[in-house]
Symmetry: D2
Subunit: 345 residues, 4 copies
């Protein structure tokens, strides 16, 4: 199947290419980039020399519709909403790595994204692609909203105890940490090497646009309106997210009991791994791979369950999950193109 | 005044030397190291060549008592408790950077430090050296227990709202992050460069020995038994601690109001700086200095106050605070030897 | 084909597993580790949980000879020489990632490795596995000495101009830089995070054991005894080698002319990429992959050619090249299991 | 003495402030920044909050001349040459951290800096401020050209053997490595954290503007025209320069003999430290300090002397040396404000 990537110069695009280059059924036919059209992709990303031989192009929707069956959008916020409707109307499947089609509420979208939401019929069409939870909907999807990086790590960490009604859903607190690549390739003093190296920062406290995305999924699962406390931080490393999640248990159980629950909950899911008692995963243990690894600690002293969930923000938190979603949409085996081990050290 | 440093090969010692070398009133006369006695200090730490010209020695308590007036212990846990009593008995002041004299309860000490506590009369003599809170006691102290790194950042962050009774003291949750130097100079796979670089880890969840230290101080200030949730993490950088602290407010007030409160609370304290509204300090902004910088965010949505407190773990979290304590004990100006700017970038 | 890995707890082993797990023809049947026999591999390397399900074992040569056809040695120096002869005698192919069978001269081996060389008949049997240069010999090899990391980057950088007799072979100067993983998993203060982070070091000047290995290959190609100046340095990053090589040209030519020469020289070699004029590769552009990328600059002012050659020390400098060698030995396509893009960023 | 700093938002300025804040005789009265005039300095550099209380201003030469006696220029290339002449004419001393007044030759300046050189009378007035070599001229200077970072580390490494005529001056080869802060605070993809982290790069091979500066000093000392090979690289760390220097010896002598020579050569120089036999300094051993540390290895095999010279690029390579120059110009003790130990780890 021929596919296209829109947003060719970002880190999302380059990770899509890394996985698609090994994919047994999908082939990248076009890379679209407005800012770099006419340039060889490998001139922008020298590490792809002699491997990726495409030139970046301007978008042409009619031509795209003729040449490819599926389009990945690895664009900034408020871009894909202008183009996806036309492609969907022409019968092209779209997987959107940006946030444009993730939220249901126009008001909330306006508040966090600063613009009007995409047209309502397309918002209704869009399926939220958290693979492990919405696999059946995804199989039917034409327009897929690929989850954000923080929401992926966070909701996978919380869902088992939330669904089984073991926690007070109004006590969810998430202290999240990301590697710097989550900020993308855009230049900024915040991620200037000399200022970010040997530094650790909190940012956008109480205001990050992944807050409503997390709350929407959790509220829908719990069937009640959930508000979370969510504080993101940035770590002086390139890749990796850790969500450290704190929830009040309705009733204390042993760590072992929760581990059993999580293992059963995710037993059909090839990319979620639950650590054994006494072991907490670190971000490097999923580096470069599509895994989400989870460690648990039930604190008898305070009555809380502490959940540590790690992913590679560019893989399970973006491009890897996008390919996993494509695999589900197409009815292919879910791991196609994705069964690489994490790279360590 | 001549002083000695015991525990000469650790990072605590080398930071003490950096500050004492510029100190107007104190002079390092002896460096004691059992494992390196007979070796030049500058052979172990090449960066001190031609500046520090002392040879490390075995400890000899009688000789120490004759030659110096004050001794810094920069030793691992469960070492100073065997030596400090004899020095105190001879009239030598002691500042202990380890945890041996910080806890009051023999049971808690046994549980977290795995050995018997120091003799009771010396535990009673020991003053806990959180300068900003116990300045008056410190002025009288002969035996000073210098606070741990996490407890320093954490308690300075919480005290203003706890003392003013603005929070529910049973809701304190601390998600803490440290640079790698906190683990000291001892070799371990955990801090082996190739495994720690580009990695972020949680560790000792619910079990860190700084938990009872934090609880003891907070309980004493609040006049009730407080239990906290405390999760430490390790960041791929050498220096810096951030405590992100979450507390339930009794009543919502604006961020601005809390900033005013903190500024007034710390207005006599030369090393605590409160950031203005909208600004959260990062760890690099105190790098190499004795500052504790605090940022605040009152979250109307969730009714929580989020407090971000940063220090350099080896300075305000160890050697810098030890010198600040010496200054207070001696009646010198509190900033003597310590008024260096953070080093940036 | 079933294979075994000896030296199961080092970085060489874990990288072999990463590539072999995706290899179309080879399957890892056994992992041998003396220090960890009886332990699950995934307990030592948590990132392989649920993927690598082997337990490490003690070595048993007879059993090995029955169960596998080829053995990789990812052991420290002076280990494989004691075991390989017995395996070879039983008809098992061996690929040695250590230096035991690389050098021809017993005296030189003794000088640089501090012990006696392996038995002479096996030294004679051993083929030096620099794939691009000795491909035909490798096809016949039973005992393969996989090149060192520095020698791989360095000799691939020099060979084209040396073979074409364009340089004065007595002027070769190599200033080499490696990531920290080159030092392996053994603990040492040199690679303790707090001391290696934000640090850059030279080490073993004039004494590194890769000096005779480089000289042996270059001398054999040039048909004269060549001595090189070689200075290794260590960079605060996990992976990557850069050799910056300086040679006196017999006659000045344009940079463009040398690029043409290198491109023709390596045109059959899938893993050597020559950068175009004005572009010098950085180490990250080969990160995680089996590529060796080369950039060139002919300096008219000084009459020198400056060659920059980069590899991932753990891949083309160790495990990746070992698999490339296995592919050649077995007559498989040379890129089998290895056609992954570098991982960027 | 009141001084001003021009170029207030760069790393040069912030390091000047760090040292001047502790200086016994000099006081920063004004910070000039065109791009940030009207802004508090501590709003741009939060780590200086409550310590630096100046607002940045537009330049006003008449006012400057009335209020300060000396001006530091921490500006980019081709800026100071427009302002310094007017200040000098008004009797204000100037220390220029940029390259505008370092080169004597108008042609060479034009070639490497891309613009016309400063007016000839001021070029003639300018004294090149390599303190250890030109101390006597510096005492008389009104206009001081502070050396570049690479030239400082490199020429201090070479001068002893060049002056004593022990090397072939046409064989000098410098392989240099810098931390990222050398690139300044300007944003660029090259120093974007995600692209620079875990990366090592060569750049501007054969074209760096420090080449003519090094050659000018060496040629003047040797009394013959010297051309050097100079290749700069960038290391994923914030601070530090290492120059690894290779020279052909006229006659082999022991490493010990060269160490003796260097120690005698620099025995009056408080900021140059020569390591003992077998010890090579790493960049972290001078971190944050004004030291230049030198290690030596005489290679009998190849007849070369290998010199390793390390500095902190922002201190001895910029602001620290500028203050050292001010001290010499004013007749103060050379170490005033500068006697801090390197910060380790």
């Amino acid at each position: 199947m021929d596919v296209a990537i829109i947003g060719g110069t970002g880190y999302g695009a380059v990770e899509l290419l890394r996985f698609l280059q090994q994919h047994p059924y999908a082939n990248v036919k076009k890379i679209i980039s407005h800012s770099n059209s006419g340039t060889d992709f490998s001139d922008v990303y020298q590490h792809t020399v002699e491997v990726v031989e495409l030139q970046m192009e301007e978008i042409d929707i009619d031509q795209l519709a003729q040449e490819v069956e599926l389009v990945f959008f690895a664009t900034p916020s408020n871009v894909s909403k202008h183009t996806i409707p036309a492609l969907i109307d022409k019968g092209i499947k779209c997987i959107d790595l940006s946030g444009d089609f993730r939220l249901q509420s126009p008001e909330v979208y306006q508040q966090y994204y600063g613009e009007e939401i995409a047209p309502q019929p397309y918002i209704e069409k869009a399926v939220y692609g958290l693979c492990e939870t919405y696999r059946e909907n995804i199989q039917q999807a034409d327009l897929l909203a690929n989850p954000g990086c923080y929401p992926t790590a966070t909701t996978l960490g919380i869902l088992p105890v939330l669904e089984r009604d073991l926690i007070d859903p109004q006590t969810i607190l998430i202290d999240a940490k990301t590697g710097v690549s989550g900020a993308g390739r855009g230049l900024s003093l915040n991620v200037h090497f000399s200022e970010m190296n040997e530094n650790f920062k909190a940012y956008k406290i109480g205001q990050h646009k992944h807050i409503p995305e997390i709350e929407q999924t959790l509220s829908s699962v719990a069937n009640e309106t959930i508000q979370v406390t969510f504080t993101p931080h940035i770590v002086p490393m390139t890749r990796g997210i850790m969500s450290t999640i704190y929830v009040d248990l309705k009733e204390h159980q042993s760590t072992e009991a929760f581990i059993d629950l999580y293992e059963r909950f995710y037993q059909q899911d090839p990319f979620v791994r639950v650590r054994k008692n006494g072991v907490i995963p670190s971000t490097k243990e999923v580096w470069g791979s599509n895994y989400c690894d989870i460690g648990l600690y039930a604190d008898e002293r305070t009555g809380k369950l502490i959940i540590v969930s790690v992913i590679d923000n560019l893989v399970k938190g973006a491009s890897g999950q996008a390919i996993q979603n494509m695999n589900i949409m197409q009815g292919w085996e879910e791991t196609a193109g994705l069964h690489t081990l994490p790279i360590y050290p």
